[in-house]
Amino acid sequence: MFVKQLSVFLENTEGRLDEVLKILAQGGIDLLSASLADTMEYGVLRLISKEPDKAKQILKEAGFAARIDEVIAVVVPDAVGSLAKVVGMIHAAGINISYIYGLSIDGEGAPIAIKTDDNAKAEGLLNAAGVTTLGMEDLQ
């Protein structure tokens, strides 16, 4: 049960971020979450929506490099040290975390997106420890 994440390459983040968001809004894409990772030169915008494939098509047609990857959407319980526990479990299993960011999805706890180099194994061990993860159908 993963969530599909759409990422977009931005040559210069300042001007283009605005443009990407406008194009998606015009295309009727409802964004649930956005996270920007940038360097001095360029940035990668990571987006979660209910219609990632449609969003990708819209951006492709507008000339952007976009791709879809799966990320684990973890519901971190509202308790001190919960996030540390989640990250600790993944590390202990020898799985590398590529990046992590908060998701603004309504519901219990604090949902976060985690991309690892072995999503299936990471999700499996989290679920076995009683941690809830979300799928596309949970994005409402």
Binding site: F9, L10, E11, R16, R46, G63, R67
Partner: protein
């Protein structure tokens, strides 16, 4: 087999003596018969008597594409129209075509030059050869045709445009050799493979030219068609195909030095360079009557080897072309060709991304920025992979051109897409104004 051993295997002394005698003659002819040349020589204070042999070659002014345009069509002809028997032309990228004028003797010499090349490729009068170059103003079709006939081979003048007929007749007539462009031959190979007809052909050799090709293409042709493939070089301005050709040892293209006098110059200083140097190939027509060109700048960058070849020929060998001098950039004193950058990028992900070289001068120092388009296949969602991509590009370029370039990743279609080459460069230094 060596077609004309007396000429192709002359000693260096004999070659140079012959070249000197012929150079003196041709310089006299153009001085007296071509006003344009006479004026050019007079402008630098030269008289025909000043040219006593090939040691004086570097006193003569160059001839360029621009001169051909300025004198189009017959301004450089050295014979009256009654002596001319044919015109060929190649399309220039802009403006008027480059044309060449031939006398009957020119056509004969051309045929012999091509016959020498075909002979080098092992073709004899017992061979059946298809000419798959276009027939017309383009020199490829008629040039290869006359040469093959001169040799005594049986010629099928296929021209271009009907691959099915070419394949049918190749099989029906037991064709043993083909002359065409390398890319067309690979296309033919593909069609033969698709039709399952590879076993039905009797092809032994191919003489390919009119466009640059690589060793990898040679390997493909040879292994897919079970043939030997040879590279033939020529320019319409000088004659057409058959100026030079490679022998079975593939150590460069033997140039027929009794008809063409090659030299290497520095394309920037325009000084003649010592034998063996890298630079621009310049050729002088030694025997052409119709429109002899003196020190014609080919713009092709290469070097020439003069040692005797294993095949027994002494005729000098033009080495692999490294690019065109009109594409060359000089950055911090280093010669850089867009083709080198392209080759380096090709090794990054197995595909050439769109790119642009931006050269600038900041505080009197040249800067090179290489913009690489992040197309879908290059894009990843992880910053560290993108950083790795830029670093790989940087390192490959450093290895290929010896310069530290700034690599900038740009959005797809952020760069203008050009069909032609040499549009991969933006030079912001105002060096030539």
């Amino acid at each position: 087999m060596i077609w004309n051993e007396a000429k192709e295997c002359m000693s260096r002394d004999e070659i140079e003596a012959l070249q000197s005698a012929r150079l003196v003659k041709v310089v006299n002819r153009v001085y007296h018969n071509v006003e344009y040349y006479r004026k050019k020589m007079q402008a630098v204070g030269l008289e025909p008597g000043d040219i006593k042999g090939i040691e004086d070659l570097d006193k003569l002014p160059y001839t360029t594409y621009q001169d051909l345009r300025d004198t189009y069509p017959f301004g450089l002809a050295a014979v009256p129209k009654s002596e001319m028997v044919r015109v060929h032309a190649s399309s220039g990228t802009t403006g008027k075509p480059k044309i060449a004028v031939y006398t009957r003797r020119d056509i004969d010499i051309w045929a012999e030059c091509v016959a020498r090349c075909l002979s080098m490729a092992g073709i004899t009068r017992d061979d059946i050869i298809q000419v798959g170059y276009g027939y017309g103003l383009f020199t490829g079709g008629l040039g290869a045709h006359y040469g093959a006939e001169y040799l005594g081979a049986l010629v099928l003048p296929m021209s271009t445009g009907n691959t099915q007929k070419l394949i049918d007749m190749m099989i029906d007539c037991d064709v043993t050799s083909i002359a065409c462009t390398p890319s067309y031959l690979l296309h033919v190979a593909e069609d033969l493979e698709k039709a399952g007809l590879i076993d039905k052909i009797k092809l032994k050799s191919a003489i390919c030219g009119a466009e640059p090709w690589t060793d990898e293409m040679r390997d493909q042709m040879e292994s897919r068609l079970h043939i030997k493939a040879y590279d033939i070089y020529g320019l319409t301005e000088m004659m057409g195909p058959g100026v030079a050709c490679d022998c079975e040892y593939h150590r460069g293209l033997h140039i027929w030095e009794d008809h063409f006098l090659p030299e290497i110059i520095d394309p920037v200083t325009l000084k003649q360079l010592p034998k063996g140097s890298d630079g621009e190939l310049v050729i002088t027509n030694l025997t052409k009557e119709g429109m002899p060109l003196i020190r014609y700048r080919t713009k092709d960058l290469t070097s020439i080897q003069y040692d005797k070849c294993e095949c027994g020929r002494t005729m000098a060998r033009i080495q692999r072309f490294r690019g065109r001098s009109d594409d060359m950039l000089i950055i911090r004193g280093v010669n850089v060709f867009p083709s080198q950058v392209e080759a380096a990028l090709l090794t990054v992900e197995g595909t050439t991304p769109h790119y642009m070289l931006v050269v600038d001068r900041v505080d009197n120092t040249d800067t090179l920025e290489v913009q690489v388009e992040v197309a879908e296949n290059f894009f990843t969602d992880e910053i560290k992979s993108l950083e790795k991509l830029s670093k790989t590009v940087h390192d490959k370029l450093k290895m290929a051109i010896g310069l530290n370039a700034k690599v900038k990743l740009v959005e797809p279609n952020g760069l203008e897409h050009f069909d032609g080459k040499s549009k991969h460069v933006t030079d912001k230094r105002k060096l030539y104004q």
